[in-house]
């Protein structure tokens, strides 16, 4: 069975809205490191954080995250 990873469009959507990592982190209520690690696919966020990110960026979780098949 192929292993699945989580990709995301977080950086693209964030920069489209002219937000820095620190600003997005402040609006979501997490640290900048959290945004950094999610953007680089190092850290897989919880459903709670994924929903908060999508709401802050005015998009859906499906538009923000996608599955990557290895």
């Amino acid at each position: 069975m192929a292993e699945r990873g989580l990709g995301n469009h977080l950086k693209a959507l964030r920069t489209e809205r002219g937000l820095t990592q620190a600003e997005l982190a402040q609006r979501v209520g997490v640290s900048r490191k959290t945004i950094n690690t999610v953007e680089n696919s190092v850290f897989i966020p919880s459903t709670l954080l994924a929903l908060a990110l999508a709401r802050t960026l005015e998009t859906t979780v499906e538009a923000l995250f996608f599955l990557v098949e290895d």
């Binding site: 489209e16 002219g18 620190a22 609006r27 997490v30 640290s31 680089n40």
Partner: protein
């Protein structure tokens, strides 16, 4: 879009225009810095020429030969000053504005607190080394029955202070603790504790086998084992935090 803090975030088009504008500004600023460098180099060359120790007869009326043409030093001086003045003006005109400064990732209060915790966890084990290795001697004095009061005070302090400092930093639930406690921190902490558990098991197994061979050595090795068991997760957390800060 309206935000909870009352600020209006840029729309998608406004955001892209903001990024383009910042790129232009940064490019011009870099260009100005290059001109400053060239102007400085020219003035430096002139200064080197003037201070080279060669005999001068006419001061700035002296000439140097560039491309087979004699050029008076005062011409180079004037050109250099003009370039420097122009570059200085351009640098000031295209200095980093509020937009550029905003794009520099200034850590928020939560990041600063988390980085402070990581530094604390890195430094604490270093501070505790002497105390942990002093414990056997202190306890030896107590068991021998001739320990002064300071030893009775120091021994429990050293025994409990070090684990307390580590655990309280990681497990605190007060106002600061809640601010530190986001889900990335929890994930890093879980990784650090996992590494610490593996190391603790190895250290205890090693001590156990050492105790079967030479029981006295096991007792002597206990402070080192205690130090390792607390230091490894603390340093692992500090490393993971640094790596997340640096490149995710």
């Amino acid at each position: 879009m309206a935000q909870a803090d009352g600020q209006i975030a840029p729309t998608r088009d406004e955001g892209q225009a903001l990024i383009r504008g910042e790129r232009r500004r940064v490019f011009r600023f870099k260009l100005a810095l290059i001109i400053v460098g060239l102007g400085s180099g020219l003035l430096g060359a002139l200064a080197a020429r003037l201070l080279s120790g060669r005999p001068h007869t006419g001061g700035l009326q002296d000439t140097i030969t560039l491309w087979r043409a004699p050029i008076p030093l005062w011409t180079i001086l004037v050109v250099g000053l003009a370039v420097a003045a122009t570059a200085g003006g351009l640098t000031w005109r295209y200095r980093p504005g509020a937009g550029v400064l905003r794009l520099i990732e200034v850590p928020g209060q939560r990041d600063r607190m988390q980085n402070g915790l990581a530094r604390w966890l890195f430094i604490t084990p270093l501070c505790a080394v002497a105390g942990v290795f002093a414990l056997p001697a202190l306890i030896g004095q107590i068991l021998a029955g001739h320990a002064p009061l300071i030893v009775w005070v120091m021994t429990p302090a050293l025994t409990f202070a070090y684990p307390y400092m580590i655990l309280a930093s990681l497990l605190t639930r007060n106002r600061i603790g809640r601010a530190l406690d986001d889900e990335l921190t929890r994930a890093l902490r879980a990784q650090a504790f996992t590494v610490g558990f593996v190391v603790a098991m190895i250290a205890l197994a090693g001590l156990f086998w050492l105790g079967l061979y030479r029981p006295a050595w096991m007792v002597e090795g206990l402070p080192a084992a205690l130090l390792i068991c607390a230091t490894v997760p603390a340093w692992t957390y500090a490393f993971l935090n640094w790596r997340a800060e640096r490149d995710g």
